[in-house]
């Protein structure tokens, strides 16, 4: 009987905290999304008007496309690179322990600091990358000033920061892989690729799914990096969803419209996670 009271006393503060500081704001934001409000005049109920506006907003379409590209590129590149590096360095090779330690640094570099660091590195006249390209006789790249390449630069910085995440997750996965099936496959005469494809990959599938899901979630939220490196520019070529919503809400103070956009965003993220989870689960049930 006393345990019954104790357990709720322990759990409820945390639950209450999240209800107060996350769920209540979410509900409030949902109701805001059906209103027009810019802080100066009283709010007005407008029904679904904000959502209809979102459907036709070219800048929203651009944000969706930009975010989609960013997520697809970063997740793919980082998972592939991270997996390859983990395969190379999970054995106790000289230097692999140092590498494990060193890669923690990008992961804990504040993204806004990384953005400014990126401005130094990508400086088109005299940055270190520009110097290197010149030395190699390669043409100049407009890293940040060309709408066609700015998103690529953003992706590159994210790859620098987050490939270590996939690397470390796969290392943890490889450490848990049993040796017997691999040895058995080698004994049976399987080549390296066959072992990788038919033994190692299926064993690592659960870890890969976790890496994929978490990186998807982290990528889709991207804000700081774009805010700092390009501010969404040139033009709106790197204006990702979080950046656009933040602008609508806290620069233009279209609070209702921004709330509607954030609900579209939230639904898409949740949908994305669900689809990923379902598809990927089917994948490794087959394998």
């Amino acid at each position: 009987m006393r345990d019954e009271r104790v357990k709720w006393a322990l759990l409820l503060p945390a639950v209450g905290w999240i209800l107060t500081f996350t769920i209540y704001p979410l509900v409030y934001s949902l109701s805001l999304s059906f209103q027009n409000w810019n802080l100066t005049s009283p709010p007005q109920w407008v029904g679904l008007a904000n959502y209809l506006r979102a459907l036709q907003d070219p800048r929203m379409h651009n944000a969706l496309r930009t975010t989609g590209l960013f997520v697809a590129a970063t997740v793919t590149i980082e998972l592939v690179l991270g997996f390859a590096l983990a395969l190379l360095f999970y054995r106790p090779i000289w230097g692999s322990r140092a590498l494990r330690a060193v890669v923690v640094a990008p992961l804990f570099t504040s993204p806004i600091a990384l953005a400014f660091l990126g401005m130094m590195l990508f400086h088109e006249e005299d940055g270190p990358i520009a110097h290197l390209l010149r030395m190699l006789g390669l043409p100049r790249v407009h890293w940040l000033s060309d709408p066609a390449t700015a998103l690529g630069s953003l992706i590159l910085l994210d790859v620098w920061q987050w490939t270590p995440f996939a690397f470390l997750v796969f290392l943890a996965g490889l450490a848990g892989v049993p040796q017997e099936p691999i040895e058995a496959a080698i004994v049976d005469g399987a080549g390296r690729w066959a072992v990788l494809r038919h033994v190692l990959l299926p064993l690592l599938a659960p870890v890969a799914v976790t890496a994929l899901l978490f990186k998807f979630i982290y990528s889709v939220k991207v804000f700081d990096l774009a805010f700092g490196l390009t501010g969404g520019g040139p033009g709106i070529s790197t204006e990702v969803l979080a950046l656009y919503i933040h602008r609508q809400g806290l620069e233009f103070f279209n609070l209702g419209y921004a709330s509607a956009l954030s609900y579209v965003f939230l639904v898409l993220v949740v949908l994305g996670c669900t689809v990923l989870l379902l598809r990927v689960r089917r994948l490794y049930e087959v394998a």
Binding site: R2, D3, V6, K7, L10, L11, P13, A14, V15, W17, I18, F21, T22, L26, F89, A98, L99, V102, V104, A105, P106, L107, F108, T109, S110, I112, A113, L114, F116, L117, M119, M120, H123, D126, P128, M135, P164, F165, L168, V169, A172, A184, D188, T210, I217, V220, F223, F227, G228, L241, A242, I245, H246, G249, L250, L255, A258, S262, L266, V270
Partner: protein, 303 residues
């Protein structure tokens, strides 16, 4: 997995012996792996090194392709000194704000999170169809919510409560951000401590509180410290809440960096100093809890 009987290790060795080129391939391979290692290390470290080097260069030297202090350029402390002389008050203010907000939000999240984590690890919950792991998943699901979705209502609430541009307001936001992490990692930790240890103490006549303070917390303390350090680092690096909820008195280090754009052009020699100030504490802290990094970033899903 295989139908034919295993030929045994001897056969494998035989197979290797039958192909003398294997040894050679191994050597070539070691060389390649070493090459990849060096390339990766350079790729990871160069940006950080560049920030460090730039901070010790004369402003006029900033854009020259020189990498080695003493050999290629004369290092100077002038940027660090100027930065603290010109903007010392802002820097110290933002550093202390960052420190206070990160420490208090980490402690708050840790307190609430260990309580909830302990409850979820030790007691059965059942409310209708909801069980312990459903509650844990609910905490996990909080990670999915993009901060930009809640930052607008947060701004309005803080405004109404008079908490805009206060460290308290930002602390509340950061605690919310770190609470799922603390709850899930601590639940994991308590699940790993055998119940028998606690039961033994209870049988010996200790009260629940004594057991918690004298038995459970000491056993959980490494995890507590590591989780707290991670929460501290995440709060230190957090930007979107800080950008929205603070603007002058309660600004943190990430805002100090973001502010560098507004001054006359970007003065990279000063930026590099600020970047290092922002970057070093969380990176060093994370290095001290290396074993927890993956666990922290996947909220306990991968150890």
């Amino acid at each position: 997995m295989h139908s034919a009987p295993a030929p045994g290790a001897a056969a494998v060795r035989g197979r290797l012996k039958a192909r003398p080129e294997v040894a050679l391939r191994r050597n070539g391979e070691a060389f390649l792996v070493g090459l990849v290692l060096v390339a990766t290390l350079i790729w990871v470290l160069f940006p950080l090194y560049w920030a460090l080097v730039t901070s010790f260069k004369e402003p006029t030297e900033t854009f020259r392709p020189t990498f080695l202090p003493f050999l290629q350029f004369r290092p100077t402390l002038a940027n660090w000194q100027d930065q603290f002389r010109l903007a010392g008050r802002d820097i110290l203010k933002d550093l202390s704000n960052s420190l206070l907000v990160a420490a208090s939000s980490a402690l708050l999240a840790l307190g609430l999170g260990s309580m909830a984590g302990y409850a979820l690890a030790r007691f059965p919950f059942q409310v209708g169809p909801i069980r312990n792991h459903d509650i844990a998943s609910w905490f996990l699901s909080q990670v999915v919510i993009p901060p930009v979705v809640v930052v607008i209502p947060f701004f309005l609430f803080m405004q109404r409560l008079g908490l805009l541009d206060t460290r308290l307001g930002l602390t509340l936001a950061h605690t919310t951000m770190n609470l799922p992490l603390a709850t899930l990692l601590m639940r994991d930790t308590f699940l790993g401590i055998p119940v028998e240890v606690e039961e033994a103490a209870l049988v010996d006549g200790a009260s629940r509180w004594t057991v918690l303070w004298r038995v459970v917390f000491p056993l959980a303390s490494p995890a507590l410290v590591s989780t707290g350090i991670l929460a501290f680092a995440f709060s230190w690096n957090e930007f979107i809440y800080a950008l929205t909820l603070t603007f002058e008195r309660a600004t943190t280090i990430p805002l100090l960096i973001a502010g560098a754009k507004m001054s006359q052009g970007i003065q990279f020699w000063f930026v590099s100093v600020r970047v290092l100030l922002a970057l070093l504490p969380p990176v060093l802290l994370a290095l001290s809890v290396q074993r927890y990094v993956v666990r922290g970033l996947t909220l306990g899903a991968v150890r």
